[in-house]
């Protein structure tokens, strides 16, 4: 029996690095679409909701409205960009057929996931930080718990990149690739308290809102900024981790069965 002299045992690091670099290079080739466009649209939100409308709104929990919406806007971008990046990253090789190489390579499923999801999450995190920086030009900001802020940022980016990865594998056409982000994620994100506190809702809708997972993300993230939250921060963290675990389980199942990847 032979062993490959140059193949590292355990983890195929070169493969993870190759996928990660490939994906990052794809982003850098399209800076307008990847970076400038999300920053521009977020700036528009600040101008419209923060400056124009926000100046006529009263402060929420003693936080000026323009500042109040910052965590929600970052989350909104984080969710949509993570899903868009990761779903497209794995859908495109399936669409063009280049996925044959991935399937024939000596890589474990979790190495593929680390490469693709790692790259998608990196982009989202960088984007989130850029938007945060952009926000400081429009509104005065303070971050009460920077450590937790970063943790929510990273966890959310990873979780929703995983979710996007699953969508990319599930989708067998460009329409399906768009349908979940547009019809499910965007409404959930808008109704998840990006622009208001769910305390402002009537009691019935407040209960309904608690079934929206995005509420917990935004609430936790906003707490890391202002120290005030709609739901307990431990609950927020717990719900994020539950969703993360669910996504990991789904990806493991996909690769074990070859669902939509192998015949």
């Amino acid at each position: 029996m032979k062993t490959l002299d140059t193949s590292p045992p355990g983890i195929n690091w070169p493969a993870i690095a190759a996928i990660y670099r490939f994906e990052m290079a794809r982003t850098l080739r399209t800076p307008l679409q990847s970076v400038v466009s999300p920053v521009l649209s977020t700036s528009l939100y600040f101008v419209v909701f923060g400056a124009a409308i926000g100046s006529r709104m009263q402060a929420i929990d003693d936080v000026q409205y323009g500042a109040f919406i910052v965590p929600g806007l970052i989350m909104l971008t984080l969710l949509t960009q993570s899903i868009a990046n990761a779903s497209f990253a794995i859908y495109f090789p399936k669409f063009t057929g280049t996925i044959y190489e991935l399937l024939s390579a000596p890589v474990a499923w979790w190495e593929v996931v680390i490469g693709y999801v790692g790259a998608a999450a990196t982009k989202s995190i960088v984007l989130g930080l850029i938007i945060l920086l952009t926000a400081t030009f429009f509104v005065p900001l303070r971050i009460a718990h920077p450590g937790f802020m970063l943790m929510f940022l990273v966890l959310t980016a990873i979780t929703f990149s995983l979710f996007g990865f699953i969508i990319g594998i599930w989708a067998d056409g460009f329409e399906k690739l768009q349908v979940i982000p547009l019809l499910v994620v965007t409404p959930l994100a808008f109704l998840g308290g990006s622009f208001y506190s769910i305390e402002m809702l009537p009691p019935l809708w407040r209960t309904v809102a608690l079934f929206n997972p995005v509420v917990y993300l935004i609430s936790g993230f906003r707490w890391s900024f202002f120290g005030k939250a709609d739901v307990g921060v431990a609950v927020s963290l717990g719900m994020t981790l539950v969703f993360l675990a669910g996504c990991i389980a789904a990806v493991a199942w996909i690769f074990r069965t070859g669902y939509r990847l192998k015949n």
Partner: protein, 321 residues
Amino acid sequence: MPPMSQTTTPQTATSPIISVSGLTKTYASGFQALKSVDLDIRKGEIFALLGPNGAGKTTLISIICGLVNPTTGTVRADGHDIVTDYRAARAAIGLVPQELTTDAFETVRATVGFSRGLFGKRKDPALVEQVLKDLSLWDKRDSQIRTLSGGMKRRVMIAKALAHEPRILFLDEPTAGVDVELRQDMWQMVRRLRDNGVTIILTTHYIEEAEEMADRVGVISKGEIILVEDKVELMRKLGRKQLTLSLQAPLAELPPALSTFDLALATGGEELVYTYDTKAERTGITTLLQALSEAGIRFSDLRTSQSSLEDIFVSLVRDRS
């Protein structure tokens, strides 16, 4: 060509580098693409897998390379089970699929480097340079793949498959839609790789290709390997022709004077069929015609026919059922 990793583990000439046993594949649609395939590929040989479209060639290759899950059966590649020990098995294999599928916006050099990394090898710019030069891609190294011609893209796919110095190379229909120059380059490359100890498995439905390149030939039809033979032997069989003589008067039996010829009576004694070998030094046609004349057998017409690959398939399948 890239220097192949020198492993000096002694291996007998008979030990196969790929061993397929009891392999079946039934797709979700119910289509049975492979019906219990057993096949051994010898180390260092060029093996041509011949078969008509839809015979199961690509399915067989796809299972060995990890693109398709087998229904039952096992495959060992380079001594490793392709399912339980897929890392070691796949690291030894390079695949050039039939379809021309490449990235669009990557450069040639980047995509070949990507392949090397994906297969677990550290960066080696010198080796990538050598692979690109061997395939006449060095001038295009910084071009985006989408700007290349179809033939160049095919070369890129070969370069990607060779980037991790595989010990086994699969070429699925390598010459489909390829011009003469690339075909010549490709065969030269295949021979060089074989000289470096790489085992090459190629599929084709052109008998000439198998004839030119292969050491051994396997014929697959309707999901079954119906023949595995040394090329020389197969060529002898394929090289057979038949001369059919329509007789003026039907014969009840062959005259003893003609017993030395490979003759048979057909259509109720009205036709005489002579089977001969075009590759032999002498076909024996002249002597046969002389002998017929001496025996007073006259004929009104004659025709020759050559058994095509398709005929061989048909007769092989008929023989088995």
